[in-house]
Amino acid sequence: MRYWIWLALQSAISRKGALLIIVFSTAISVALLLAVLKVRDDTKISFTNAISGVDLIVGSKGSPTELILYSVFHIGRPTSLISGKSISEIQKINQVKWIVPIQLGDTYRSYPVVGTNAYFFDSIKAQNRSLTFTTGQAFSDQKDHELVLGANVAKQYKHRIADRITLSHGTGKGPAQDHADSPFVITGILAATGTPIDNSVFISIQSFNNLHDGSKNLQFAQLDSAQYTAFFIGLQQRSAVFSVRRQIDALKSFALMAIMPGVALDELWQTMEIAENALILVSLGVVLTSIFGIISALMVSLEARGREIATLRAIGARPSQIFFFIIWETFMISLAGIVFGWALLQATLLVFSDWFMKEWGILIQSGLPSQNDVLAILSILTIALLCSTLPAIKAYRLALHEGLNPPSI
C-alpha cells in the first residue's frame, strides 16, 4: 500500500501544471470558510461576557439590539439621546436601587470614552465580580479632567497613574478635532475583566459635558440638564424587573425604552448565529464546488489514462489496488488545496490583524488551527475522500473491463 501512495503522489505532482488553477481555487474557498469560522469564534469570545449586576438598560426608543450594542459593546451610535430630567422620575420608582448614567461619543486613539459617575465602579460587575483597580482609584465626580483606564488601553499604550492624555471627539480624525487644551490625568487603572470595560476610557459626566460645551461648565448637581446615551439601572429585587420596565415605559413624556441585558444579549447572539450559519453554508458550498472541480478534472484525465491502467494491470495490479490508487491521488490533490488554503488564511491574518482590531474592535489572530478549524478541515477532507470515489470507481471499471487492450489505443 505504501508503494501505491508513493505512485499516487508521483501522478499528482506530474499534473501540477494542469491542476494549478483548480488547486488554487480550492485554497481560496477553504481560506474563506476558515475565515468565516474564525470570525465567528473570535466574535463570540468578544460577545460572551459584558456586564452583570445590571437589571435594566434604558435608552431612547428603538432597537433593543442596537441599545445593547452601543451602550455595552460601544459598537454603533444611538440615533437620539435621552434626557437627564427622566432620572429623577425613574428614581421615584420604588424598586429602583441605583441608576448610573452613560455618555458615549468620544474616543481616545480609537478606544471609546465613557462619561459616567464614580458610582459606576461600585455598582457594575463583570462576570459577577466587582470591578477592582490595579492601581489608583476612581475619578472624582466633583473634579474635572480626571480619567480611569480599562486594562487593555493602559497596557497597549503603557500608561501609568498621573500620566496626562488628550482626548479627541467623535471620529478620532486627528488633531483638528482634538481637545488639545484639556489634557486629562489618570487617576486609576482597572484590573482586566474580559469584557468591553477593558477597552474603555472613563471620565466623569461633568468632564464629558465640558468637553463639548465649555461654556456651560456643569456641576455635579446639574445631572438632569444633560443628555445621555443610556442609563444602567440596578433594582432592590431582581425579580421586579418586569414591573420596573413597565413603569419606565409608562413615562410617556420621555420616550424611553428599557431592556433586560441578559435577554438582549441572547437575542443578539441568536441574530449573529443566523447570519454566521448562513455565511458558513455559503462558504461550504463554495468549497464543495471547488472539490467538484478537482473531481471532474480527474474524471476527464481518466479518459486518457486507459493505457496507463492497462499497463498496471499487465504488471499484476488488481482492480481494487487501482481503485485506491485513484482515491489517494484525488485525496492528495484536495489535501494540497486545503493546506494551501489554511496557509493563505494565516498569511492574510498576519497582514490584516491590526486593521481588523481598529475597525471592528475584535481581535482575530493567526496561529495554530483551533479545534473548530481542525473539525472543519477534517470535514472537508472527508467530503473530498467521499467524492474521490467517483473517479476511483471509474478507474476500477476501466481496470476490470478493458483488460490489457483498452479501446483508447
Binding site: 508503494y3 499497463t311 499487465a314 504488471i315 488488481r318 483488460g403 490489457l404 487492450n405 489505443i409
Partner: protein, 231 residues
C-alpha cells in the same frame, strides 16, 4: 499432457463475446518451456482475447487454461493477478510505460509490487537498481537515461525500457504483442535481436504475437489463429 514440459496448456477452450459468434471453439494450445513461440494473428482473429485469457485478465467460459501448473480456469481473479505479476512479463505495441515515472522507476515497477519477484532479482544483484542497470546495458540503453522521465525518451528507447521491465526479476514467460510495429525498420530489427537474446540467456519462455510474417522464421514454434496449432 505433460504439464511440466508445457508452460501453457489450453484445452477445449470455447469462448464467445456476448452476442457474437464463438471466437474459440474447442481450441487447444501447448507452449513448451524455454521455447520461442510465434502466434500469427491478424486483427479480429482473437489474438487480444487470447492474450487476455492467458494473462488471467479474462475469465474462461468453457475449457481449461493452465499456466505454469496453475489452473487458471479455477482460480479467482486476484489469484491470477498475483501469478501474472510474479511470473509474467508483458510488452505491448506502444504506451507501455507510466509517463510520470523515470526510466529506473518504470523498470523496477514489478519488483516494487511483488516481493517474490524482488527477491528473485536480489538473488542475482545487490540492489534493484543494479538489476535494472544490467538490463539497460543488455538492451543498449545509455546509463544517463536512468533517472530521466520516460516521456523524454525516443520511441525506440521506450520500447526497450518496456522490455527491461518485462524481463526484470526472472519471470517465467515474456509475452510480446506487436512489440516492434510502432518502430521503424532499423529499430525493429534491433529490438527483435535483443528480445531473442535476452530470452535465450535468461532461459525465459518467449511468446510473440504479430501479423508481421518476417519475424516468424526466428521462432521455434508457430501457431495460427484461430485455427490452432500448426507446426
Amino acid at each position: 499432457m505433460n504439464t511440466l514440459k508445457n508452460i501453457i496448456e489450453v484445452k477445449n477452450l470455447t469462448f464467445a463475446w456476448p452476442t457474437c459468434k464463438p471466437l474459440f471453439n474447442q481450441f487447444n494450445l501447448q507452449i513448451e518451456r524455454h521455447q520461442k513461440t510465434y502466434i500469427a494473428g491478424a486483427s479480429g482473429s482473437g489474438k487480444s482475447t487470447l492474450l487476455n485469457l492467458l494473462a488471467g485478465v479474462l475469465d474462461t467460459a468453457q475449457g481449461e487454461i493452465w499456466f505454469n501448473n496453475h489452473a487458471f480456469h479455477q482460480l479467482s481473479r486476484s489469484q491470477k493477478d498475483k501469478i501474472r505479476g510474479q511470473e509474467m512479463g508483458f510488452i505491448f505495441q506502444q504506451f507501455n510505460l507510466i509517463p510520470y515515472l523515470s526510466t529506473l522507476d518504470n523498470i523496477i515497477l514489478p519488483l516494487n509490487l511483488f516481493h517474490s519477484r524482488k527477491k528473485s532479482a536480489l538473488e542475482q544483484f545487490e540492489s534493484t537498481q543494479d538489476a535494472a542497470v544490467y538490463l539497460m546495458d543488455r538492451l543498449s540503453l545509455p546509463i544517463q537515461l536512468l533517472r530521466q522521465p520516460v516521456y523524454q525518451l525516443s520511441v525506440g528507447q521506450q520500447q526497450r525500457v518496456a522490455a527491461a521491465r518485462a524481463f526484470i526479476g526472472n519471470p517465467k514467460i515474456v509475452i510480446a504483442d506487436e512489440p516492434s510495429s510502432a518502430l521503424d525498420w532499423e529499430n525493429q530489427a534491433q529490438f527483435l535481436k535483443l528480445f531473442l537474446e535476452l530470452g535465450q540467456s535468461q532461459n525465459i519462455t518467449l511468446l510473440l504475437v504479430s501479423h508481421d510474417e518476417r519475424l516468424a522464421p526466428h521462432f521455434d514454434q508457430r501457431i495460427n489463429l484461430p485455427n490452432g496449432l500448426e507446426r
